[in-house]
């Protein structure tokens, strides 16, 4: 994205040396340590094992780090706006309308006592996009856009009445009503079976293509990310250990990335013994 910088337009997202720390009674948990990357209107994948700090990175960008957490960064800019010094009111105006995030678990991320439709309508109202009938129409359109078969029926359902895949798509619909410029998708497909997974990916892909949206795609599935994204960041222990163009993932140099690639199951031939990820404390230094 240095090309954009040269042309004078700031990159969509510019993160330098981002760290998230949780001072707990038992000591300080370093969830994210010194993450830096630049994102344009493209698809960026973040992969890494569970607990490597992927979700924490996404939340920190949106200013949603939960209580004792401390976010620090040399630079955290969205479209030229400094997110770290932004007053809460301005930050709220950005959320939903300009940056949005599909959260990891739709079971917990939807209000259990509100119907799906009411929640999307509420999102419209909060973002002052539309009210009354117009908001309802917009919600139905959005549900249809994420390929929900019977939007009218799903509109009136409560989250516990949805299947995992429907919940995930309802969540995506809710987060996309504001037509954000940047979407952070936190494992949007992990709970889904392969066919629906592909459908959801296609929806996201279309949105990136038609709206020129920037996408941060968080996943632990290296192959999926490689096939879907333009660039991939590999995280380990709160750090980015490698950044590669998706097309050249095969040439990845870092032993952790190679280990991740090596542990993916293969169709042809059997691997014995099964490879085990090697972790070197030196990578964290």
């Amino acid at each position: 994205m240095s090309a954009e910088n040269a042309a004078g337009t700031p990159p969509l997202l510019d993160v330098k040396n981002l760290s998230v720390r949780y001072p707990l009674r038992s000591g300080v948990v370093e969830a994210v340590r010194g993450v830096s990357f630049v994102l344009g209107r493209e698809r960026l994948g973040i992969v890494g094992e569970s607990g490597s700090g992927k979700s924490q990175t996404g939340r920190a960008i949106l200013g949603l780090t939960p209580q004792p957490g401390i976010v620090a960064a040399d630079r955290l800019r969205f479209d030229g706006i400094d997110l770290l010094s932004l007053p809460p009111r301005e930050m709220r105006r950005l959320r939903g309308r300009r940056i949005s995030m599909v959260m990891q678990d739709p079971k917990y991320s939807l209000n259990p006592v509100m119907t799906v439709g009411a929640q999307i309508v509420e999102a419209c109202r909060v973002q002052k996009l539309a009210g009354g009938r117009a908001a309802k129409d917009r919600a139905l359109d959005m549900l249809a856009a994420v390929k929900i078969d019977d939007p009218r029926r799903v509109f009136g359902l409560y989250p516990h009445e949805l299947s995992g895949g429907m919940g995930q798509r309802a969540m995506i619909a809710m987060m996309l009503v504001g037509e954000p410029d940047l979407l952070i998708a936190d494992e949007p497909t992990s709970a889904l079976d392969v066919t629906i997974q592909l459908e959801v990916l296609k929806i996201l892909d279309e949105l990136v293509a038609t709206r020129g949206m920037g996408l941060v795609f968080i996943s632990h599935d290296l192959r999926l990310v490689a096939s879907f994204c333009d660039r991939v960041l590999v995280m380990y222990g709160g750090r980015i250990v490698e950044e590669v163009a998706a097309a050249r993932l095969g040439e990845a140099g870092h032993p952790y990335t190679r280990g991740l690639l090596g542990s993916a199951p293969r169709l042809s031939g059997s691997v014995h013994p099964l490879p085990v990820l090697e972790r070197d404390p030196a990578w964290l230094a």
Binding site: L64, R92, R97, M103, D105, E122, V126, M171, M174, M175
Partner: protein, 320 residues
């Protein structure tokens, strides 16, 4: 032209005949519509409620109170406020003409009790309507905001909780001036703190929830999150608590009336009626005992109803 439908055709449509199978329809494990599921849930709750005789007794008492209050003009045999013949009708014992006797103003006690039920209901309703939103608002804001806001609001709540309710209500009525409206305000002022505590506890649990983070993510302001997402979740437990408190409200209202700080004469308020009968307690016991019994029965009814409702609305409490 009404062509008689052969029974077979009716059967073919596969619709269960509602009147005959109403119970089956309500208890169907696979409800066909949202309404049916809702009615079914309501029905199951009702069944649990009916099986609890104490709750049922409370329900009947409260229902009777409502009926009496609604049709007070029909049920009352005399005027509740206009005195009768002071020479011949004063302090008469219960009998044919005056069912529950008469008081020292020669007024029919039955009619006064019947009309007094309206006063009692109005007090209970208004106190609930005023104190519940206040308690909910203070509690949810306090729990969600945390920090200084929480500390300040909760210390204020603590101050209110540090006094016995009747004493606090007395102080407020004394400051506001006697009268039923001021009594209602005073009772409401003393009633909200427990609701605030309850709502705060639930808000504390909710504020870290993912769906609250999702709402923040859409750019919702803190006040909006409290109003749209937190308050509805705190509502059920607060409502149960309010119904449980209704008996207490009746007693405090009666207490204030007894002390002459509630409803003013000649308004037929039960507590005030007990107070005026106090002077004749030995010889004309019915003047004080009848309204006293009314207070007792109605507050018992609300207590039983509240307990039963809690069991139905809050399955966790019922299992214990």
């Amino acid at each position: 032209m009404a062509v008689p439908t052969p029974p077979a055709a009716q059967h073919d449509r596969g619709l269960p005949a509602p009147p005959a199978g109403l119970k089956a329809w309500l208890t169907s494990p696979a409800p066909a519509s949202r309404t049916q599921a809702r009615l079914g849930r309501f029905y199951r709750g009702w069944r649990g409620f009916v099986r609890n005789p104490a709750a049922m007794a409370g329900f009947v008492i409260v229902l009777l109170l409502l009926v009496v209050a609604a049709s007070a003009d029909l049920i009352a045999t005399h005027s509740p406020t206009v005195a009768g013949d002071l020479r011949t009708e004063r302090l008469l014992p219960p009998g044919g003409e005056f069912w529950l006797g008469t008081d020292d103003q020669a007024r029919d006690i039955w009619s006064r009790i019947v009309h007094g039920s309206r006063v009692t209901l109005v007090v209970v309703l208004l106190v609930s309507v005023i104190s519940m939103p206040v308690g909910l608002a203070v509690g949810t804001v306090s729990g969600y905001a945390g920090g200084v806001v929480d500390a300040v609001l909760m210390r204020i709540t603590d101050i209110f909780l540090a006094f016995p309710r009747l004493v606090l209500a007395l102080a407020f009525v004394a400051a506001l001036g006697p009268g039923i409206e001021n009594a209602i305000i005073a009772i409401a002022i003393t009633a909200w703190p427990p609701y605030a505590r309850l709502a705060r506890a639930e808000a504390l649990q909710l504020r870290g929830a993912d769906f609250i983070a999702a709402a923040k993510l859409q750019g919702a302001s803190p006040l909006r999150i409290v109003a749209v997402h937190i308050v509805p979740m705190c509502m059920p437990s607060v409502i149960v608590r309010v119904t449980l408190d209704m008996a207490g409200v009746i007693l405090i209202a009666a207490g204030l009336g007894f002390l002459g700080l509630g409803a003013q004469p000649p308004q037929p308020e039960w507590g005030a009626m007990v107070a005026s009968g106090r002077r004749f307690l030995i010889d004309q016991w019915w003047v004080a005992a009848m309204p006293g019994a009314a207070i007792f029965i109605v507050s018992l009814g609300f207590n039983l109803l509240g307990d039963g409702l809690r069991d139905v609305l809050d399955p966790k409490a019922a299992e214990r």
